[in-house]
Symmetry: C2
Subunit: 503 residues, 2 copies
């Protein structure tokens, strides 16, 4: 079956170690997998509204409590109870679909419906790679990670904070991070939603690189932020401030309860989904009070702990089923749906791959619109791995290809080709093959399909070692996407000024 | 989130390195994923019948040609053309569901409908593990592999020939293999279908260990064999002999064309599926001529080659889509469906895991009834890896758990548990948690969920290294399932006698 000729080799330029599928929007053409009956889904919905009516959610911010009271919720101390009609009315204000606009207008991304988009990991405290090992996050790693996320064409979005640069001042590091993202990348990004100023600065800085006003950024939003519920049933002050600032400025908000079954939510999956649903709907309802029509994601993060130790687990069978049911719930409310690419492995190995696959398939079959933490997440989210980012990119490229609908027509049904090749023959030289071989099949970035002997003689590198070469090659050839120097200077000046303002 | 108490630890006996889900039959409760429209499916069906009518299939056995001619097929030399009405009539004779009965009646397995069962790898020339490296197959490895397949409770079936024992005489090694399988395992197995005598010996030997006649084994079949089409459009003599012997003795036959798109079939996926379908239907039709009502599988193996090199690839996006469409085709003909767990990696790494996941998800969503090569396949099927077997078993256990329907009722919806735990609290001590934690979540065999520091201090073993410990532990504690000594002796005598008969 081995055959080489110059024409075939010509497909991949010599020295091109990193074949990628182009940056392209993806639509999921297949029906979602519905694992719960309509009745059972209704009972999760119903019980979660009972939680909101009878038990309530804590909102740890006076300003938020005032908004909620004015809108008709029942406020007792910091506990807020919602009438179910009120919840449903507020949730119905949220758009079923919206678009985010980065500085490069060609890279806008639409969420909702059958759209599906991939983002990098966000939030880890540590960085890791095979050369440098595991270390605390720092700004050099942060910048390299952004370069890598920009370079991986399968990722529609870039950042957030893939690794926390703890060598920078905590009060102003968001300015450095956003500046790095907006100069090194031209993709939609994820801004930290902790407190008002971080979100407000993100709006200003996006306005600068797009060369527009804050009002225009409000009208055509360009980033999203994650508002985690401090489960069970509590949304803390800085999160609420960030939510208010993002929503009133028109930026997208992902309401994502942290419902780890057995620890922060009940030890049964339906119960955890009830709690997730109550918490997500409460946050979404609140967003629609402060900014009616604000773009939001229904965020799911439900997983489970190891009951023997309490350690969080990800990409488990429970996680996959929760992801599918969450998709059913998001569609029930007609909301764009955000999921994640998770795993609990401590190293970039087979476990990291199969737990991620369990997460990815849950998201794809559940019709997630945004796969957050799409590339790089390791160790339950504590570490951003450079090799894992490449591994994830390969897995996502394969999914992207899987989502291309089969073209069925006379040419692809290939009766003539089958007629041309004799029994026991082969198709290598068939005219049909020559017409199709350039575009026929997915070409991998990371997978090695050479025979054992060739692979062994060439160093017997496993996928993780090959991923190491790939990210270094991508960084070596990285070029920042062009940015008007005047805007770059304005951005620089903004960051300088804002740093001077901070105490 | 860390919590330990003696009750929790008591769940897993001290020193139990290998928690497994019990041997249990699995039913796929979810709807299949249909990626082709009914129209497009019909056009694949229609074109494949055109292939059978106009182009035909070569049958390289005179006896087969006589059967085919007598049944009304058009025979020209070795080329057989089928009228479409004839094909459909013959295929309709095959049962939609059947059961295989091993020597342990409690381990019978039903195929068809929504049943799904997992088998080990079959066919590799090499064995491999971390200690011994990659080596040519031998009988010691064969026996250890059978012990491992028997020990992995997630596997419903065991063997065939997971690794070829080339240190044994080629003409009689099937006798040693079957004897080993029937003494070391009590599961349904896969017998080599190459030629008549191997299949006939399998029938005799199964009759001996079940303590019944050949006729009873015919009536209640106990193994299956794979009949590969030598694609394109050719079934060779030994395969046809094996098919005739298996079908006339009532044993199940998996008709599996070897349609590697770009090499043995067209360079477009619909074209390869047309060819696969024509070849599979021809083989199934032939089986129904020689033994009307014989149990058969619709076998799919369609993958693609790397067009640059001709190297076979597995677990690709094309493979997954072909697996799903093949499921649609099998259901179209109301036939039990056989798929595989494949990958092209040369080592047990992340690639081996993600390519296998792409295969497994295709099979599960395509409603395969038999996942052949379920555990151990490496390197495009050239090597049976002991560590890969454990990795696969973990992935299949997770799928088995994923296929358990969620129980939704007042207890699992857990309103009272949510009411019991205050906002910002935790569920560790909740009464609901105490009621559920023993059975709440999937307990992994291979995944390591400990935190990084603990994992690192304990040797920082990746999943492959951990798999190495697991299979050795399973072999260490292996006990063969009880077999009546008289039957074991009779089996031994049969093998001795048959060896003496061979030239």
């Amino acid at each position: 079956m081995r055959r080489r000729d110059s024409k075939r080799r010509a497909r991949r330029p010599a020295g091109d170690l990193v074949p990628q599928t182009p940056w392209r929007r993806l639509v999921n053409p297949y029906p979602p997998l519905e694992i719960l009956s309509a009745d059972h889904l209704e009972s999760i919905h119903d019980t979660s509204l009972r939680v909101l009516e009878e038990l309530g959610i804590e909102f740890l911010l006076d300003e938020a409590l005032e908004h909620l009271k004015a809108a008709g919720a029942e406020v007792t101390g910091q506990c807020v109870r919602f009438d179910r009609a009120l919840v449903m009315e507020l949730v119905s204000r949220a758009p079923a679909e919206f678009t985010l606009h980065p500085r490069n207008p060609e890279r806008s991304v639409t969420f909702g419906g059958d759209h599906i988009a991939f983002n990098s990991v966000g939030g880890p405290a540590n960085a890791s790679d095979l050369d440098g090992g595991r270390r605390q996050g720092n700004f050099a790693d942060f910048q390299n990670y952004i370069r890598l996320m920009q370079s991986l064409d399968v990722l529609h979005l870039c950042g957030g904070v893939p690794v926390a640069p703890i060598d920078l001042d905590a009060e102003t590091r968001h300015l450095d991070c956003i500046q790095a993202i907006l100069t090194l990348s031209d993709k939609v990004w994820h801004a930290t939603g902790l407190g008002r100023k971080r979100v407000s600065d993100a709006v200003d800085m996006l306005a600068i690189v797009r060369g527009v006003t804050r009002e225009e950024v409000r009208r055509k939003p360009g980033f999203f932020t994650t508002i985690n519920v401090n489960s069970p049933r509590r949304i803390d002050g800085p999160m609420l401030e960030g939510l208010i600032e993002a929503a009133t400025n028109g930026q997208a908000v992902s309401l994502t309860p942290f419902t780890l079954a057995g620890a922060m939510s009940p030890t049964t999956l339906p119960g955890s989904l009830v709690q997730q649903n109550a918490e997500a709907l409460a946050g979404i309802a609140f967003a629609q009070i402060v900014a009616p029509g604000a773009p939001v994601f229904y965020g799911s993060f439900t997983s489970n702990v190891d009951m023997r130790t309490g350690a969080p687990a990800f990409g488990t069978p429970e996680y996959t089923r929760a992801t599918l049911v969450s998709g059913q719930l998001a569609r029930y409310y007609d909301l764009p749906y955000r999921s994640s690419n998770t795993n609990a492995s401590n190293t970039v190995d087979a476990q990291a791959a199969y737990e991620s696959q369990m997460s990815i398939w849950g998201a794809v079959l559940g019709h997630a619109n945004l796969l957050h933490h799409g590339a790089g997440w390791l160790e339950g989210g504590l570490t951003a791995s450079f090799e894992k980012a490449v591994l994830d990119a390969e897995m996502l490229q394969m999914i992207g290809e899987f989502l291309q609908p089969l073209v069925v027509n006379d040419e692809t049904l290939a009766f003539d080709a089958i007629a041309e090749v004799q029994p026991g023959g082969h198709f290598f030289g068939a005219r049909h093959t020559l017409r199709h071989y350039d575009t026929a099949f997915y070409q991998p970035m990371l997978s090695d399909w050479r025979n054992f002997e060739t692979w062994h003689e060439d160093g017997a590198r496993n996928a993780t070692c090959r991923a190491n070469r790939i990210w270094k090659e991508l960084l070596r050839r990285f070029e920042a996407p062009p940015l008007d120097p005047a805007r770059a200077e304005e951005l620089e000046a903004f960051v300088r000024r804002r740093k001077e303002e901070e105490p």
